[in-house]
C-alpha cells in the first residue's frame, strides 16, 4: 500500500493544477449520473424485496380480498386471522418441535466435532493432515441429490426412517465439513503464543486452552453454530427422503405439505403466506446476525489475491 501511495502523492503535488482541472471537469457529469444510479438502485432494491413484502402483505389479507382479480398492494384492512387459522390445528407446533430437536442435536454435535477437528488441523502438523483437509473440502461440495438414495437405504436398513436420530446423524455429517473449514479460520486467527505464554506462567496445556483460547473463540463458535443451524433448519431434500410419514415433518416439509393440501381445493394463499412468514421470519433474523462472516468464509483469500 505504502509503495503505491508515495509516487501517487508526489505526482499529485507536481501536477496539482492539472489534477484539479481534471477533477472539476469530471464533477458535473458525475453528479447527474449519480442521481440516475441512485434512482436505479432504489428501483432495484424495491423490486428485489418485493416477494418478501408480498409474502407478508398477502399473509395479512383475508382470502376474499386475495381472490379478487385486482391485487391489493397494501394490507390496509389486514388482520392476523390467517396466522390464527394456520396455527389452529397444531401441526405447525409439532413440526417446529421436530425441526428444533433435529437441528439442535445436529448443531451441538457438529460444533463439538468440528471444533476438535479444527484444532487438530490448525494447531498441529501431522501426517495425513493435507488429505484430511482435501477430503473435507470435497465432501463439502457434494450435493444431497447425489447421495440421498443411498442415505435413505442406509437409514431404512437400521430402522431409523421417520426418526429424529436418523436425520440428525445425516445432518451432522452434511454440515460438519463446512463448520470445520469455518472454525479452522477462527482457531488459526488466535496466536498459539498466547497459550504458550499462559503455560510459561504455570497453566497446563488444557487449562491454557480453556482459559485463554476458548473465550477468544466464542464469537467464532457462535457464528459457525448459527450457520450450521441455518443449513439444517432450511434443509428440504434429505428430510423429504428420510421422513416419509406425515406425522414426522420438519418445518420445510410442513410448509410444502401445507401448500399441497391447500392446492387440492382452491389454494388459500393467505394461509400459505402466513405459514411461509412463520417459517421465514426467525431464519431471516438469525441470518442477518451471521451474514458478514458467511461471505468472507466462502470466498476468503480470494479477495486478498
Amino acid at each position: 500500500m505504502t509503495t503505491a501511495t508515495t509516487p501517487n502523492q508526489t505526482q499529485l503535488l507536481t501536477t496539482g493544477q492539472t489534477g484539479r482541472a481534471a477533477r472539476a471537469r469530471t464533477r458535473r457529469p458525475l453528479r447527474v449520473s449519480r442521481v440516475i444510479y441512485s434512482a436505479l438502485a432504489i428501483v432495484i432494491a424495491l423490486g428485489w424485496v418485493f416477494p418478501v413484502y408480498w409474502m407478508i402483505n398477502s399473509s395479512l389479507l383475508p382470502n376474499r380480498t386475495l381472490q379478487s382479480f385486482i391485487p391489493t398492494f397494501f394490507p390496509v384492512n389486514g388482520s392476523l386471522n390467517n396466522y390464527a387459522n394456520t396455527l389452529a390445528d397444531g401441526t405447525f407446533f409439532s413440526a417446529l418441535g421436530i425441526s428444533l430437536s433435529v437441528t439442535l442435536i445436529a448443531v451441538f454435535f457438529c460444533l463439538l466435532f468440528a471444533f476438535l477437528a479444527a484444532v487438530a488441523i490448525s494447531r498441529f502438523r501431522f501426517k495425513g493432515r493435507k488429505s484430511f483437509v482435501l477430503a473435507v473440502l470435497i465432501v463439502q461440495m457434494l450435493p444431497a441429490e447425489g447421495l440421498f438414495i443411498a442415505q435413505y437405504k442406509m437409514v431404512a436398513s437400521v430402522g431409523l426412517l421417520n426418526s429424529v436420530i436418523g436425520l440428525s446423524v445425516i445432518y451432522t455429517a452434511a454440515v460438519v465439513p463446512f463448520t470445520i473449514w469455518m472454525l479452522r479460520g477462527f482457531v488459526a486467527g488466535i496466536p498459539a503464543d498466547l497459550e504458550e505464554a499462559a503455560m510459561v506462567d504455570g497453566l497446563s496445556r488444557t487449562q491454557a486452552f480453556l482459559r485463554i483460547t476458548f473465550p477468544l473463540l466464542a464469537p467464532g463458535l457462535v457464528a459457525s453454530g448459527v450457520f450450521a443451524f441455518l443449513q439444517a433448519w432450511n434443509e428440504f431434500t434429505v428430510a423429504l427422503v428420510l421422513l416419509p410419514a406425515e406425522a414426522m415433518q420438519t418445518l420445510p416439509l410442513w410448509l410444502r405439505g401445507f401448500i399441497q393440501a391447500s392446492a387440492t381445493r382452491e389454494t388459500d394463499w393467505g394461509q400459505v403466506m402466513a405459514a411461509s412468514t412463520l417459517v421465514a421470519v426467525p431464519v431471516i433474523i438469525f441470518f442477518l446476525i451471521v451474514q458478514g462472516r458467511m461471505t468472507s468464509g466462502l470466498v476468503s483469500g480470494a479477495v486478498k489475491g
Partner: protein, 318 residues
C-alpha cells in the same frame, strides 16, 4: 528465510523447534479427528460406497424384497447412456446450470458496481433489500414465487397484462417446459444474486482509490480503468463465485420439486435431482438411481476442483 547465517538466538530457536517437534507427533491430532471422521464415514462414506457398488448391480423392486442383487457391470451406465430421457435431463440440467449461473453473475456484478457508484444511504437500502432476499428459506421463497406466478390471481400476470398489447391474463407459466424453467431460473437468480453482489462488492472495496485516481489522472478512461485495473484485481473473486454458482445451480432439487407440485410432474420438467428421486423413490430402481447419482457426484467434483485447489493454496499460505 532469506539469511543463511543464523545468529545465536535463531539457532537456539531452531533447536527449540527440533525439540518441540517430537512432542507434536503425539497422537493428539488423530484423537481430535476421530469424531469428525466417524460421523463423515457413517453419513457420507458408507452411503457413497454402497451407492458405488449398487450402481454396478441390478437393484430393482425384487431386490427391495430381499432378492440378492446380481452384479451387471456397466449395464446401468450403458442403459443410461442410450436412454433419451437421461440425455434430456443431463442437457437440461447443464444448460439450466450454465444459463442461471451466468445471469446471476452478470446481475451480481452490475449490482456490486452500482453499490460503489451511489451514496451511503442508497447503498444500505439496496444491501438490506438484497439481504432479505438472501435470508429467505428456500421453501418459503418458493411458495411466494408460486403465488406471484399464479395463473389466475398472480401479480406477475396482472402486471404484465397491464402492458398495452400484452395478453397475459391466466397465462400458465408452469405448464410449458420452457416457461417452467424460465420461472425456475428467475427464482434461483433472485435467491443467488445477493451472495454474488456482496462478494464482488467486498472485492471492489479492496481496489484502492489512489490507484484508480492515479490512472484517471494519467488519462485512463472509465472503461480502461475497469478492464485494466479493477477486473484483474477482482478476477479471483469472480472465478470462485462463478464456480460456487455453477455447483449450486446443479442442485436445485427443492426448487424444481416445489414448482412441479404447482405445475406438472411430466418427464420433460425434470432436472438431475428430481430424475434421481423419481428413479429411486418412485420406480424403486436403486441401481439406476445410484448410477445417475454417481454421475452427479463426478460432475460436481470436476466443477469444484478449481475451487478446492484455490482454497487449499490459501490454507498453505496461512
Amino acid at each position: 528465510m532469506s539469511s543463511t547465517v543464523a545468529t545465536a538466538p535463531e539457532k537456539a530457536a531452531q533447536k527449540d523447534r527440533q525439540v518441540a517437534k517430537p512432542r507434536r507427533r503425539l497422537p493428539t491430532p488423530y484423537l481430535l479427528l476421530i469424531p469428525s471422521v466417524v460421523i463423515l464415514l457413517i453419513g457420507m462414506g458408507y452411503p457413497l460406497i454402497w451407492q458405488t457398488i449398487t450402481s454396478f448391480q441390478k437393484f430393482g423392486l425384487s431386490q427391495q424384497f430381499g432378492q440378492p442383487a446380481p452384479f451387471v457391470g456397466f449395464e446401468n451406465y450403458l442403459s443410461l447412456a442410450t436412454n433419451p430421457d437421461m440425455w434430456g435431463v443431463v442437457v437440461r440440467s447443464l444448460v439450466f446450470m450454465a444459463v442461471t449461473a451466468f445471469i446471476t453473475l452478470a446481475i451480481g456484478l452490475l449490482l456490486a458496481v452500482l453499490m460503489t457508484a451511489v451514496g451511503k444511504v442508497v447503498r444500505l437500502t439496496l444491501q438490506i433489500s438484497l439481504l432479505l432476499a438472501w435470508a429467505m428459506p428456500v421453501v418459503a421463497a418458493m411458495t411466494v414465487w408460486i403465488w406471484l406466478f399464479d395463473r389466475r390471481r398472480g401479480v406477475v400476470n396482472y402486471l404484465l397484462d397491464m402492458i398495452p398489447g400484452v395478453e397475459m391474463n391466466r397465462f400458465a407459466w408452469l405448464e410449458n417446459p420452457f416457461t417452467f424453467f424460465m420461472v425456475a431460473c428467475i427464482i434461483v437468480v433472485w435467491m443467488s444474486v445477493p451472495f454474488v453482489a456482496f462478494s464482488v462488492y467486498a472485492g471492489l472495496t479492496q481496489v484502492s482509490d489512489e490507484v484508480l485516481e492515479a490512472a484517471q489522472l494519467d488519462g485512463a478512461s472509465a472503461w480502461q480503468r475497469l478492464s485494466f485495473i479493477i477486473m484483474p484485481m477482482i478476477r479471483p473473486v469472480i472465478a470462485i463465485v462463478l464456480l460456487l454458482q455453477l455447483i449450486w445451480d446443479l442442485r436445485v432439487f427443492t426448487q424444481i420439486t416445489m414448482l412441479q407440485d404447482a405445475g406438472s410432474r411430466a418427464a420433460e420438467f425434470d432436472l438431475l435431482g428430481t430424475y434421481i428421486y423419481k428413479l429411486g423413490a418412485g420406480s424403486q430402481d436403486f441401481g439406476m438411481a445410484s448410477a445417475v447419482s454417481i454421475f452427479v457426484l463426478l460432475l460436481t467434483v470436476a466443477i469444484s476442483w478449481y475451487y478446492v485447489r484455490s482454497l487449499l493454496k490459501e490454507d498453505e499460505q496461512s
